[in-house]
């Protein structure tokens, strides 16, 4: 029973992080119908921004509440700018080209980032994995029994930050003028443009938003697993992408549900079946969902307009 509870906590912890990354995939897909395969690597860049900031702050300052806020703020704002630049110079020139062109460009950016960051020149971090500095000093928040179940303070803080970001996003998309514009662009960007919505600006802002979320997710990931490397984005990005597709890509709450389901499935496969099956089951689950509901759990199958 205690073991079950511990697995549940572990699974939720990875699930919420997948969710934040998956939201980025889903939002960009919503407005552009583009699967931004560089999204995971943008997350990795955000993590290294946070890493540099944490080091610049020093051991004392980064472990305070203000320190954590500064690390998150720098990484998220920096990453938003980075996302803006990618959109402006890599995707926008290809806006009217076939969709596949943009997709290949996204894959190209992904590899350029994950392998470029392995160079050891100037500000680039080099190939070796690094230990992420402790910006939250780990203490046990809750212990059940003889350490049968242990909940750490950073697990609670991460969960709160993740939920906070998701609630904020929900409000932004459904409660603001910008959100309405974003949904309009996602519905039909030509008609939206005719209605006077500045589609380019909306798309750029969507990219910035998704990149900032990715940076936040990446930092939570780095706090959780303490090890960061230039290839981390490929792996987390792929998992989050699967989560977004399971939930129905383009559907905001769907991405969250898909991610939580994926995190829990992975955890329970390892805990109760065999660890070797983890990825097989995760991707098998994706295939199953696509077979039964091609649009994902929450996605609607839209009729093709001819």
């Amino acid at each position: 029973m205690a073991q079950l509870l511990q697995h549940l906590i572990n699974g939720l912890a990875s699930g919420t992080i997948y969710a934040l990354v998956a939201l980025g995939y889903t939002m960009v897909y919503g407005v552009l119908k583009l699967i931004n395969f560089a999204h995971g690597d943008v997350m990795m860049v955000g993590v290294y921004m946070g890493y540099a900031t944490a080091f610049a702050l020093g051991r004392e300052a980064r472990a305070s509440l203000l320190g954590v806020a500064v690390v998150f703020a720098v990484a998220m704002l920096g990453c938003a700018l980075f996302g803006f630049l990618i959109e402006r110079f890599a995707y926008r020139p290809l806006r009217e080209k076939p969709r596949l062109t943009a997709l290949i460009t996204a894959i190209g950016i992904s590899f350029a980032l994950s392998y470029g960051f392995q160079l050891d020149i100037g500000f680039l971090p080099g190939a070796s994995p690094r230990a992420f500095p402790e910006i939250i000093t780990p203490t046990e928040w809750l212990i059940i029994g003889d350490r049968d179940v242990v909940v750490w303070n950073w697990q609670v803080i991460s969960l709160l930050i993740a939920v906070g970001l998701m609630v904020g996003l929900q409000y932004l998309v459904f409660g603001t003028r910008f959100g309405r514009a974003m949904r309009a662009v996602s519905w039909d960007h030509r008609v939206a443009a005719l209605m006077g919505i500045p589609t380019d600006r909306v798309i750029a802002l969507t990219f910035m938003l998704s990149s900032a979320l990715a940076a936040g997710a990446g930092l939570l990931y780095a706090i959780k697993d303490t090890s960061v490397s230039p290839l981390m984005g490929l792996y987390v990005g792929l998992k989050a992408f699967v989560a977004a597709v399971i939930g129905g890509i383009g559907h905001v709450p769907g991405a969250v549900v898909g991610a939580l389901v994926l995190g829990l499935v992975e955890e329970f496969v390892v805990g109760y079946a065999a660890s070797t099956w983890r990825d097989a089951v995760a991707f098998g689950f994706l295939i199953l969902v696509l077979l039964v509901k091609p649009g994902g759990l929450f996605g609607r199958v839209a009729a093709e307009k001819v």
Binding site: Q3, Q6, I35, L231, L290, E304
Partner: protein, 401 residues
């Protein structure tokens, strides 16, 4: 939406393909050409000058095993530099060309092909990880170019053929060494094993350890695995914790082991972790912090060894690279020196002559133990057990074959 599924699958296939193959192995950033005499390391490869002997190295200079490849390269470089300073090989200078394999077997195979067909090297050194060396050995054997791996411990590497040698011990020996240490010295009764299922090295060590440990009267209570590149091992560790082992054998590489150690302490596992030479990297301490303290691993050499040969090597290495050499550097140095000695004895520089000269290596005074190559082209030598304490490794004991 209906069109989405095929598009996604296509995109995934492209990503997978891009991951698997790249047309050219990239020459390493700073080490495209490492020869003291040559300065250019750009794309086109000049043919070796008549008075130089060109050796080749393929190593993991980037990716998950990067510190291994870099240490190995430094060791080899030092040996070549010293040999050239002492007059080279029979009047000829030595040069080496180094290619990066990004810690991937498929890149290793491409790089070695390039060394053989384009650079026409006399002999190949490398790599650390057995998976990469296996990919290289096929090509070297087929082309009849002798290859010496400094530190690939997987048994099958030298079984690829009579041109493939190694200057280190083999995996069954490391698994045996740790099983013996766990039973006789640590007096463990029941253990768990956590294997990296993407690495031939890890699987081999784990298999031998499991077999020997149970033969010696111990019990195996849990078996779990992970994949290289994972960073969350809490599910496996939570399951292991339930089985209540006295110790956990984690024969993986430092990138993962550092994080595993940290998370093991986090889920409340206090028993010692044990591993093999894959732990040997300063990065282990960076990633694991205080959690790696009190754990044990088997290795090829210890810098605490008072042997004057070893101490001289450590001093020379420190002067050159400003750090204490790890085992990979020591083995790289030994491999290069075995190769250089063989080239001196060889009657000419053709593959068969060089191979025969290497095969005759006997009682060679290496810095990581005395090397004699047996008829299976493996080195026969002892292993040391090291303990991690106070942020460094401490010599515990030596276990003989």
């Amino acid at each position: 939406m209906r069109r989405l599924a095929p598009m996604l699958l296509a995109a995934l296939a492209i990503m997978a393909a891009a991951c698997e193959k790249k047309t050219q192995p990239a020459p390493s950033g700073e080490g495209g050409t490492q020869s003291p005499g040559q300065s250019s390391n750009t794309g086109a490869t000049p043919p070796p000058a008549a008075d130089t002997i060109l050796l080749g190295q393929v190593g993991a200079l980037s990716g998950g095993q990067a510190t291994f490849g870099i240490s190995q390269r430094n060791g080899i470089e030092l040996a070549i530099k010293e040999a050239n300073a002492a007059g080279g090989v029979n009047g000829k200078k030595l040069a080496i060309r180094v290619y990066d394999n990004q810690s991937k077997p498929e890149e290793a195979a491409q790089a070695v092909t390039r060394l053989i067909t384009q650079d026409k090297v006399v002999l190949i050194l490398g790599d650390v990880a057995s998976s990469n060396s296996l990919a290289m050995a096929d090509k070297a054997q087929a082309a009849g170019v002798p290859m010496i791996t400094p530190s690939s411990t997987n048994v099958t590497v030298t079984q690829k053929g009579d041109y493939i040698f190694r200057v280190c011990f083999i995996d069954p020996f490391q698994g045996y060494v740790m099983a013996k240490f766990a039973r006789d010295d640590l007096k463990l009764k029941q253990v768990a094993v956590l294997t990296d299922n993407k690495s031939a090295y890890s699987i081999d060590l784990a298999n031998v350890f499991k077999q020997k440990f149970t033969e010696m009267g111990g019990k195996l209570v849990a078996e779990q695995s992970y994949s290289q590149g994972d960073t969350d091992y809490r599910a496996q560790l939570t399951a292991i914790k339930k089985a209540q082992p006295d110790g956990i054998y984690v024969p993986g590489y430092y990138s993962e082991v550092g994080v595993i150690a940290r998370q093991a302490r986090e889920v409340g596992l206090k028993v010692p972790l044990m591993g093999g030479d894959g732990w040997d990297s300063a990065t282990l301490f960076e990633l694991g912090g205080s959690a790696v303290e009190g754990n044990y691993f088997s290795n090829h050499y210890s810098p605490d060894n008072p042997d004057p040969r070893t101490q001289k090597f450590i001093a020379d290495y420190k002067a050159e690279y400003k750090s204490v050499p790890d085992a990979l550097a020591a083995l790289g140095y030994d491999a290069a020196r075995v190769a250089i000695e063989a080239l001196k004895r060889s009657k000419d520089l053709t593959g068969p002559s060089v191979r025969d000269a290497i095969a005759q290596t006997k009682d060679f005074p290496g810095v990581a133990g005395t090397i004699t190559l047996d008829d299976k082209r493996n080195a026969v030598k002892s292993a040391v057990i090291l303990k991690v304490a106070d942020g460094k490794t401490q010599y515990v004991t030596t276990i003989n074959p």
